[in-house]
């Protein structure tokens, strides 16, 4: 005789979910299993965060009445189809989503435990601090020196290491040698050539992306060791005054400046770039949703 009802899991939450009618299995599963035994909102959030911090967050599914682990969800792994929303990342076949999808996942996992107070914040470059800024450079970048020709306008300096010979030796041109893929100038200035910092030194955006601002191995994201290196915006979660960056499993940070300095190396205006000034806020954090 078949059982009248298929077996299904029962989860215990800290309180009634904030939106019980719109709770999702994977998110309730994460919260209720990770935070098992926790009795306080902060304790629940800490335990939920531990699931995101290891950068291996998996969907769950029911199989023969049992909850089993499903695919690992990822961050910007397939850029041409990366989804922008938590319901899509929970349902699409490859489980790949953007920072807003990941922030919604974390905030929803918290609110599904009946814990309110999580806010989703959008981060953009602050154009009042850096006019013209339209994005930021996620770690890691190197801003390398380069060699310029002297008064004679002739390049006297051969390229060493992986440096790039921009102007052939003994020919004329303003830029002689640029740093190579490692972002470090290995060459030595010869004759009247000199080492300079920034192709557009003295301007608000002294460096050029790909020329003397060179992308290096980045901060790993969820299921993706090398997410995109420049973004127009980013989304994070704030709870209890701390900032959680679920896309990278990074945090919590006690201040916006701490997050900014941990996350970015520079600010861009098109293809021009400037280094992040670690002493001041250059990003803007704007509340977009409260759960």
């Amino acid at each position: 005789m078949p059982a009248p009802f298929a077996p299904c899991p029962v989860y215990v939450t800290l309180k009634t979910p904030v939106d019980a009618a719109d709770a999702y299995h994977t998110l309730v599963h994460i919260g209720s299993t990770k935070a098992k035994g926790e009795t306080t909102p902060n304790g629940v959030v800490d335990k939920i965060w531990s699931e995101f911090a290891d950068r291996d967050v998996r969907r769950v599914k029911l199989q023969n009445g049992k909850v089993v682990s499903d695919i690992q969800m990822t961050y910007w792994k397939t850029p041409s189809t990366t989804c922008q929303d938590f319901q899509a990342i929970l349902s699409k076949s490859d489980g790949d989503g953007s920072c807003i999808a990941w922030s919604q996942l974390l905030a929803r996992a918290i609110s599904d435990q009946g814990v309110s107070g999580a806010g989703i914040y959008e981060i953009t470059a602050d154009t009042t601090v850096n006019p013209g800024a339209n994005g930021f450079m996620v770690k890691h970048w190197r801003f390398g020196s380069h060699i310029t020709t002297g008064k004679d306008g002739i390049n006297n300096s051969p390229a060493l290491g992986d440096d790039v010979l921009y102007t052939p030796v003994e020919t004329s041109g303003a830029i002689a040698v640029l740093p190579g893929a490692n972002g470090i100038l290995d060459s030595l200035a010869k004759g009247d050539d000199t080492v300079a910092d920034g192709v557009f030194a003295g301007t608000p955006y002294p460096y050029v992306v790909g020329a003397d601002a060179i992308n290096q191995s980045g901060i790993p994201g969820q299921g993706n060791p090398e997410p995109p290196e420049i973004f127009l915006n980013h989304f994070v979660v704030k709870y209890g005054g701390s900032i959680y960056d679920p896309s990278y499993g990074a945090g919590p940070y006690t201040s916006e400046l701490a997050h900014e300095n941990a996350a970015i190396d520079g600010i861009v205006n098109g293809n021009r770039a400037r280094k992040n000034d670690t002493s001041k806020m250059e990003l803007l954090y704007t509340l977009r949703a409260s759960l």
């Binding site: 189809t81 989804c83 319901q87 192709v199 127009l232 098109g270 293809n271 949703a289």
Partner: protein, 241 residues
Amino acid sequence: MIPGLRRYLGCAMITFLAVFSGVGDLSACNLILATSESGKAMTLLSSVPFREDGTTRILNLWRIDVDLSGFNLLAYLREHPDRSDFPKSALVLTESADGINLEQGKVLWISLLTPGPQQMIHADMCYSSNQSVVHVVVAASHTIHIELSLFSIPRKSNIAKWPMELKASNHDSWPKTIAPKAELKTIQASQRISRIKAAHLLEQQDGLLVVLSMEEAPLQFYYNISTSSWSKVSIKHEKID
């Protein structure tokens, strides 16, 4: 003669015939690629055939890649230190002299695109009912942000011969862009927006309807031409018996 257009012609004729037989799916045009003389990719986004003076003409909306990279971009920026970027692509509206010889015609309008990282651009056009104006929508989106730009181009507009080459070396002499007729910048933070897959533009009553196809339910915005105002259109699901 643009060599790559030869490869395009076969597909264009298929599209042309399909449209006239009423079974056309113009979205398939997005798959048609050709290359310009400089080897840049050209994508046909939308195509509208029409009859005039006993002949068949075709309006085509192209996206042409024009971006510079590496040392070419560095050289450009050093020549123009007041600039920070070079356009990634150009939207070009053309009208062919007839329905067959797509390489002969004129350029009605151009818009240069410099999208930011991860920003997606979609575009579509529609023909006004009196055939005097071509409307173009450009939809730029990233995460929860959507920016719509509407352009209305007189059919008689003629800013360059088609084909034309968009070379970086003569960037400053490219045909001039025009300001959009209307713009809408909106943040869709309170609902699912997911990824925009395509933009569609339809003339409707005294306005223009922009339909943004998404992975989930589409978003629709209506621009009332007489009042110069935008509104978001809710989609009603009505049961059909």
